[in-house]
Assembly symmetry: C2
Homo-oligomer: 197 residues x 2
Amino acid sequence: MRTRRTLVKAAAEEFDRFGYDGTSLSRISTVAGLSIGAVTFHFPSKAQLADAVQEEGRQVTLTALKGLGESPASALSTVVDLTLELARLMEQEPSVRSAIRLGRERPGTAAWSDTWLPCVRELLDQAHEDGQLSSDTVPEDVAALVEYLTSGAEAYLCNRLGSELEFESAVTQLRRVWQVALVGVSADASVRAPLIG
Amino acid sequence: MRTRRTLVKAAAEEFDRFGYDGTSLSRISTVAGLSIGAVTFHFPSKAQLADAVQEEGRQVTLTALKGLGESPASALSTVVDLTLELARLMEQEPSVRSAIRLGRERPGTAAWSDTWLPCVRELLDQAHEDGQLSSDTVPEDVAALVEYLTSGAEAYLCNRLGSELEFESAVTQLRRVWQVALVGVSADASVRAPLIG
């Protein structure tokens, strides 16, 4: 089990940095300090190792979200906290970053958002029922907005990689963006309607 | 010139689909129906061809945005239109999708967002001055939101690729998301403050 964990951890870092095509089992064996025989004993193919990394990223995400489900906060507030937690995971967990990247690069495997989007949808339906969503919006559109904000946090982290500059954390930036999205960009309700034709 | 254009067009499609590492000059020569000698005459290296594709993506974007600058609409409304135009370009222009992907995969080259973000920032400052932004927001945070929404549209298009299902266009979906972002997610101003700790 310990070798397996070491391998999944090393593979998560490699897949995160170099993607599925740019990563080989032999490279992972070097990084993990294990023989190629030990690697293929646990994972006969790169696809199986990638599956394990994606599953690890999903489990890490589910565990982090479990805590939120028990919070007494309002449903809408829980959605905000959930996305901030996702941003923290993206920032700190190579297995989560790998699960995002591999889900995109390996058609037919589960997208990472499948892990948390059903939970967001349920919370938004609850928020709608509880009258927490502004009257002009429907939960479905808010769910799309939540997906967009999460993609934005991910893109922010990707663009930051390799830069030498000091950057604001993804969590802090997402919190600022949420503040705007909750309040609304436009000054005046009467201005809003004609903006979108 | 014509051969050069054929090559940039073929390269844009290849880089868009397979990324920088997954694309070779010989593959591009096959797709373009040109000899490898003709390719290397115009572009001695893959890096030079990628530079030309990124430049093409930028020019296509700048040309599309030029028309918007002349619109008599309000600054905020122009920002919305600008992002919808970006979504249309992402959906329809392989050179734009390539410029996005290559800008991310080739550290040190310009990010595609550098083409339009200065314009967005200027418009948002104008919108702020004109009192079009809601009083609780600052242009800098709205600019971050605009970047997030654009990343969301791009991610939406990426996830859609390879799927057999019929999907809503990225422009239509972004319009729905903007509607929420303009009005604000939260029902009640007094609820908003405590949502973000």
